[in-house]
Each structure stands twice: as C-alpha cells, then as structure tokens.
C-alpha cells in the first residue's frame, strides 16, 4: 500500500548508511532530482547506487557523488562531458565502479523485480565485461550468466500518481522507472501531481500501485539541461 508523504525529506528519512539505492533517469531525463537532493541533506553515506550514468553537471546524482556519499556505483555509462564529479572521485580511488552493458543493467533490474534467479544473455559474450562469468552454448549461440540486481530503495520520478500508487510517466523520462519500482524493496516516487483514484485510466497505468511504496508530489520538479552530446 502506498504512503503519501508531505515532503521529499520525509520520503527519504529512513534510508540508512550502507543502503543499496536505485535511482531512475537516463542522464537528466527522469532523474528524481528533488528526492536525491533530499538524500544529500539527510546524510546517508556508504551507499551503493544503481543508475545508468554517474551524474551530470552539479545537481541530483552529481551532487550525491560530489558529497562523497557513494561507495560503489553500478552503471553503464559513467563518463560523459559533464561527469566531472564522478571522474574526480573515480580517479582518486574513492568510488568503486561496476560497469554493466546497458541492456544487461536493465534486464538485471527487471529480473530482480520479476523473481528471476539469473539469466543467460548474449550481450557481452567474449568481451572484457564478461570475464570470469559463467557462459553456456545454447542452440549454437553463446551466452553469459547474469544475476539480478536487488535494492533496498528506489528513487523514481514519474509523472502522475493516483492515491492507489498507480503511475504514468512522460516520454523518454520513463526509462528505468517501472523496472526499478518493482526491483526495490521500497520504491519512493516523486510525481508532478497526485490525483484521486479513478483519474488515471487503468489502460494507461504504466506502474501498477502494488510497486509504489511511498509517493510525494513535487509540482515544479526540475529537469536540468543536459550537456550537449555525450
């Protein structure tokens, strides 16, 4: 059942040191900037973070990286033109990186939410990112065994939520939101507005409310300008 909380600070208040936290977003699209900034204020540290990237510019995930709260990041594309905070921490040996091909990252997150114990994927076979992993030939093709990624919490930005926790998203800001919502033990979602039940057509629900544990309205959420190109 979804708990609707009044502020982003309330929403993240119980995330402890050492937690594993999934954070939605692809670059800045769908990044729950206000929830992340509340987490920076809250002070939890020694975090393991799962995101596609490793922060852009100065806000949101980049601010969490800059504040030194992340012990390890699991992502597919850390290095970008505006990832300077990550670059600095990584080069200083202050943040551990597990680099995962993007589709394997998505499927590992999906698998966690779907109760899958592992899966064989062709992606990465024969490359350095599959080194040391179990492989198998199935019907003449080679696959790599990958395991799910579970998390204690997920921070997600959706578009509209109803009082039952059903969610819609906007355009490519959907990205990791639905799969992270089901993969984390506690999914914390910021939405532009919360509406009464019945206001979202059931046919249009993307994340069913069963996956939404906590929801907060952030009417004027910011989506920072991405850096040009990479």
């Amino acid at each position: 059942m979804v708990h609707i909380v009044a502020t982003v600070d309330d929403a993240v208040s119980d995330i402890p040191d050492g937690a594993t936290v999934m954070i939605g977003g692809f670059g800045t699209a769908g990044q729950p900037v206000e929830l992340i900034e509340a987490l920076v204020r809250q002070g939890a540290t020694d975090l393991t973070v799962i995101n596609n990237n490793a922060g852009n510019g100065e806000v949101g995930l980049a601010a969490l990286v800059a504040a030194g709260r992340i012990r390890k990041i699991i992502c597919s594309f850390p290095r970008q033109s505006d990832s300077h905070h990550f670059d600095e921490k990584y080069r200083a040996g202050e943040i551990e990186l597990e680099l995962v091909p993007q589709g394997n990252l998505a499927e590992r997150v999906r698998a966690a939410g779907a109760g899958i114990g592992g899966f064989f994927t062709p992606t990465g076979y024969g490359t350095p990112l599959a080194e040391g992993k179990e492989t198998r030939e199935i019907n003449g093709r080679y696959y790599v065994l990958e395991y799910p990624i579970h998390a204690d919490f997920a921070l997600i930005k959706a578009h509209v939520g109803d009082e039952a926790g059903n969610l819609t998203y906007r355009k490519t800001a959907r990205n990791f939101g639905p799969i992270m919502a089901s993969a984390a033990r506690t999914a914390i979602v910021q939405v532009a507005r919360i509406v009464p039940v019945g206001q979202i057509d059931p046919e249009n629900v993307v994340t069913p409310g069963i996956h939404t544990n906590r929801m907060v309205a952030v009417p004027a959420a910011r989506t920072p300008e991405p850096a040009v190109g990479q």
Partner: protein, 214 residues
Amino acid sequence: MKATNRLDRDELAALVARDIPAGSYVNLGIGQPTRVSNFLALGNGVTLHTENGMLGMGPEAHGDEIDLDLINAGKIPVTELPGASYFHHADSFAMMRGGHLDICVLGAYQVSQHGDLANWHTGGVGDIPAVGGAMDLAIGAKDTFVMMSLLTREGQSKIVPECTYPLTGLGCVSRVYTDLAVFLLDSSGVTVRETFGISFAELADLVPVPLRPS
C-alpha cells in the same frame, strides 16, 4: 552517386541512409551515425529506435520544441513523429537483443576481418570506461553497420586481422562504410563493394586483411 574522391562525413552519412531499406526499424548510434538521420528520405517509412525507450524518434528539437523529458541516446532533445511509442529500458533492450531491429549503425575504433567490433574503450590507462548500449546493439540488430574513417590519424587501417582494443561483440559487423570504401563482411571474408578516390589495388595495400573485389 558516382564519387571520385574520398567521401566527407555528410556524403558517407547519405550513402548509409540510401542503403537503409524503406520500412526498416533502425537504431543510429551516438556520434557520427546520428548524422544518417539527416539523409533518410521522409515518407519512406524508416522508424528510428532510441535505446532510452522510444520508437518513432523525429529530428533534433529546436526552440519551443525542446522538452527535456524527450531526448535521444546522446541526451540531445529530439521530437516525436506520428506513430511514436514509449517503453521502459528493459523493453527497449529486449527489442534489440530479441532481434527485432533491422539495422543498427555504430561508430568503431576497429573492426576485424571476422566482423568483431571494438568501439567502447581504448583500454588506455586512466581512461574511464563507458559502454552504454553498444554491446547490446552490436549483437542484437539483424544487421550491424559500422561507419568510420578507414584510417587512424597515424594512417593505420581500422579494419584489422584481429582487434587489439577491448571487444564490443564477436562476429557481429556485416558492413563497414568508410570514407575510402564500403566493405561487406561474411563468413567467407571481406568483399569491397565500392571505393572512393582510390583503386582496389591501393586499398589492398592499406588494409592488412585479404580483400576481394565485388
């Protein structure tokens, strides 16, 4: 087109665009491959996929069209075309891995004569690796095309007997578009489809793998 000189970037992009069949579902990688979209004929039914969860991607957005919730894989604001759809990341990569995309076009550091691709990491000390969707795309699409300059700045061929950079995928590249020639790769070897401003013999001197004329 009858090219007599090596192709510039736009000519190369136009050539790739012309070779994409009407009605195809296509993913254009970040960087130079994105340029191919400038040359796709409107109305020929090519649908562009972007890995961050969209089919039916339109051109880059400008001015009032810019919506920061609507970006491409290179994180550049884009537009949506009629018939577009959105989906989450696991579905987007299932679309690739499941073999539903007809063509992807990627850049490369190196392609081997066996179609192995290296395009995500130089392996250099101090370089921060970033792979993104390159490995999923390379092995997922029905056809993986590479577009690149044939030679490095030092004049070395990027088509090589074996890749020395870290691999992206094994045996996945079927065609390589370069400024000097188009190469077709299959289990029987490397065929040169056409050359630009260079003879087949001159090309064969530059590229250290066995080449066949078409």
